[in-house]
Symmetry: C2
Subunit: 221 residues, 2 copies
């Protein structure tokens, strides 16, 4: 499903160059359950954005479902993201003026669902992450872990075949983390491909394979 | 140092009332090293904001260093916060248009330090959290864990006697978390009072006492 070859990502800051990724070559098959781990600043979020077709590489190639991402138009990429990929951002990227369920239903509305059906599915997704009583709260009226779970609900509401979760339990207590990972296990058993960036050993243990990143490179498998 | 009695915090949302804190009575002595733990949504951040004089109670009393906080003017509260309290926010509250060292030096400039001395101390604080090479990056040019460490550097740069850290390692790998907690241990040995909200058992083990919160109340101390 995911085939990257020698991906680099360089940020230019005036005279300085920050090499966030220094040649990443990985393959991830359909239906795999993968953890990506590594120190703070090692390039995990950068890699996730490239995999999720949200950012371009500086060099190297990336094929998603057999198509070379570099050659797709922005419209095709947006459609593919909306239909195929659910992304849980490290800092959620929720819209502050929308209530929780309105944030969650957004990808459904973009994909053409009718308003009442989108709302119903958004409320169901919130219930699955334990937030039934918080559907009408805006992000500023939610705790950190509640915001995180709204972001998770939004990522899965469209039934995506690929779920990219960047530190989905960073703000959750042990019990709630376990509930979320059990939920991800279920999504995986349904046939989805799941990639989780995590700093937690307990979370990584739910996955089948661990890709370790350090200083922008993959280390020992 | 910190003496709270029957603190409640109620949020009104139209007809609904959310009882975030339902009567918190705790005492924390000068120089103590405390963890506050509890499920997502249980009221930890709300309590930390009240302790840090950033928010008011709905009812109940709070004395800080013997003074009833309710009776202090906004100016006196702001001065006390600037001189005495360092706050690491759960989502950092960094200013996006300022570079990392500019964010860190802000409390020093507010407190009246000269610009070059403030910059020197800001750079030293960044070095202590392992971010020497990132002083000129803005928050959007930093990883999640790097932003978290800038927030920590800013909280300690004024040498505060009370440090309030709301989930300071939520976005850090195990190694970097250990480095940060060792740093907090050192700050504690220097005589500071440290309160850490955390979901991590490893972090809680660095502290001397654990206050457990559930549904807005303290449970089995
Ligand atoms: N826009 C940018 N400009 C310059 N440098 C950047 C930019 N974005 C990220 N970086 C740098 O690239 C490196 C990798 O960042 P990335 O966010 O991928 O790390 P990460 O592995 O997700 O870290 P964390 O675990 O802390 O979230 C970091 O050292 C960061 O400072
Ligand atoms: N402005 C607000 N209006 C309404 N409800 C609010 C508001 N702010 C917080 N809440 C609610 O108060 C409760 C406590 O929030 P708080 O942020 O203190 O939790 P927390 O213990 O820090 O959780 P987490 O571990 O997820 O960060 C939550 O259930 C939240 O939904
Ligand atoms: Mg990251
Ligand atoms: Mg919180």
């Amino acid at each position: 499903l995911i085939d990257t070859k020698d991906i680099t990502k360089v940020y230019k800051m005036g005279e300085i160059e920050v090499q966030a990724l220094r040649g990443i070559t990985i393959q991830i098959g359909k239906g795999e359950y993968i953890a990506i781990t590594g120190p703070s600043g090692s390039g995990k979020s950068t890699l996730m954005h490239i995999i999720g077709c949200l950012d371009t590489t500086t060099s190297g190639t990336y094929s998603f479902a057999g198509k070379s991402v570099h050659e797709l138009s922005e419209d095709m990429l947006a459609e593919m993201r909306n239909k195929e990929i659910g992304f849980v951002f490290q800092f959620f990227n929720l819209l502050p003026r929308l209530k929780a369920y309105e944030n969650v239903e957004l990808p459904l509305l973009y994909g053409g669902k009718r308003a009442n059906e989108a709302k119903t599915q958004a409320l169901m997704a919130l219930e699955r992450v334990g937030l039934k009583g918080r559907a009408n709260h805006r992000p500023t009226e939610l705790s950190g872990g509640e915001c995180q779970r709204v972001a998770i609900a939004r990522a899965i509401v469209t039934n995506p075949s690929l779920i990219l979760a960047d530190e989905p339990t960073g703000n959750l207590d042990t019990q709630t983390s376990e509930e979320i990972m059990t939920f991800f296990d279920t999504l995986h058993k349904e046939g989805r491909t799941i990639i989780v960036v995590t700093h937690s050993q307990e979370v990584a243990e739910h996955t089948e394979r661990n890709i370790k990143i350090r200083d922008g490179m993959v280390v020992d498998s």
